[in-house]
Amino acid sequence: MKEPTASWKLLILAALLPILILITIDIAIGGGSHPESFKRFGNAILTSYVVMGILLLGNLFFYADSRHRPLAPLVGMIVAIVFGVAISYILLSNDDLLLEANSGVRAQMLSNIVHLLVSGTAMLLAALLAIGTTFATITGRKRRVLFEEEE
């Protein structure tokens, strides 16, 4: 077995490179600036933080089972989620900072959740394709004979 030659930096670069290539092509075509993407970035961060926080809050119940149901971690996680919701509300209420083409703060929050549902589905399907193909290529190779005795 050889020593691993890949590092996390290389893997992150491999993930970013195709996206950067596509964006560079868009700029070369004359795509111009896209200020809306900063709003989307902000909305995606806040929404995924809150939704993931709520899912992890569910996990805390399992944790509580093995610790005589302490309240402190539950309260801590609820505070973290409320903090995320409050930040979202403040930034969405603040003029035109994060508000996209929606009628108000509540509409934007609902839109963000639905948007996360769609983009999350797209990412899950892409992960299914990439991880599935990786395993398919690995299992597709003919079985190697490691020792003569195996024959």
Partner: protein
């Protein structure tokens, strides 16, 4: 083209107030009733079913109620899928409509991947070797169907023959993320694996194929979307992917911080007192009862 939300119920044009604003001043009682009705409908037919999906999964995985949890999730998922018909006034139902539109190619993709993986050399659950080829064909057909949904008249249509606004969110995100993941998987195989060059090459080819599809969409107009719109949404998809990763990472960080700070605050467990004479006697008696064998 952008998905416009008026808080479920009433559509609006960008930067114009809705007919009866949900989030602002509502003066007319009839208007308010209409808004409340549409909000209630959206809650009953879309949002509550959407919430039951993770709730049912949680109940099922935790073992509290396995089968009812699974059934609850499936019912919730089904109601979300048909929300475009049960609550057509809700803007959120566009997401349910999109999920329904992509269900068939997604299932075909999953079936194909299953056949490709288990048609190969696996120790358990091995399928017939033809499953590998039929699986590859299924994956290819599913990707072709997705392409036809962009360039041909398979495009998901929502209200009044208009394109589903979330299709142009889904498609660039899927292309970008699959390109990036395939590229990462190829490098990981070469870097961490032993003699995996040919397998990595196949993944690189898939990554290049998905990138080629994305570049084609950037250059050529789709059936109902233009190349300019796709390029704009490509930026938004990039922002979505990075933002989601940062947000999920932050939530996991907050979770770890909460657990760590609680565990740190717990006092160290004290030493237990030595056993009393009675306890030792009891243990010895138990041991004698259990280790005494028959004499030969």
């Amino acid at each position: 083209m952008r998905p416009l939300f008026s808080g479920d119920g009433i559509t609006k044009t960008p930067n114009q107030p809705t007919e009866c604003k949900i989030t602002g001043d509502v003066h007319k009682s009839g208007c308010r009733r209409q808004v409340m009705d549409s909000m209630l409908e959206a809650a009953i037919w879309f949002w509550i079913p959407l919430c039951t999906i993770p709730l049912g999964m949680w109940l099922s995985i935790s073992g509290i109620s396995k089968k009812p949890g699974l059934i609850l999730s499936l019912i919730g998922f089904f109601l979300v899928l048909i929300s475009a018909w049960t609550v057509p006034s809700s803007d959120s139902s566009a997401a349910g409509h999109l999920l329904l539109s992509i269900l068939a190619p997604s299932l075909l993709l999953a079936y194909g991947i299953h056949g490709m993986v288990f048609g190969g050399n696996v120790p358990v659950g091995k399928l017939d070797s033809t499953a590998r080829w039929s699986g590859t064909l299924a994956v290819a057909i599913s990707i072709i169907i997705f392409c036809l949904m962009h360039w041909y008249n398979f495009t998901p249509l929502w209200r009044d023959g208009q394109i589903n606004p979330y299709w142009i969110v889904f498609w660039p995100t899927f292309l970008l993320f699959s390109t990036a993941l395939c590229s990462t998987a190829a490098i990981a195989l070469v870097g961490f694996g032993d003699n995996r060059g040919s397998e990595a090459m196949k993944l690189i080819l898939l990554s290049v194929l998905m990138m080629g599809i994305a570049i084609s969409a950037m250059l050529f107009d789709g059936y109902l979307t233009t190349a300019d719109e796709f390029r704009e949404y490509l930026w938004l998809a990039s922002a979505d992917i990075f933002g989601t990763f940062v947000g999920v990472g932050s939530a996991i960080g907050a979770f770890a911080l909460v657990i760590w700070s609680y565990e740190k605050s717990l006092p160290l467990p004290g030493n237990s007192p030595p056993p009393s004479k009675d306890e030792i006697k009891h243990v010895v008696k138990l041991a004698e009862n259990h280790i005494g064998g028959e004499e030969e």
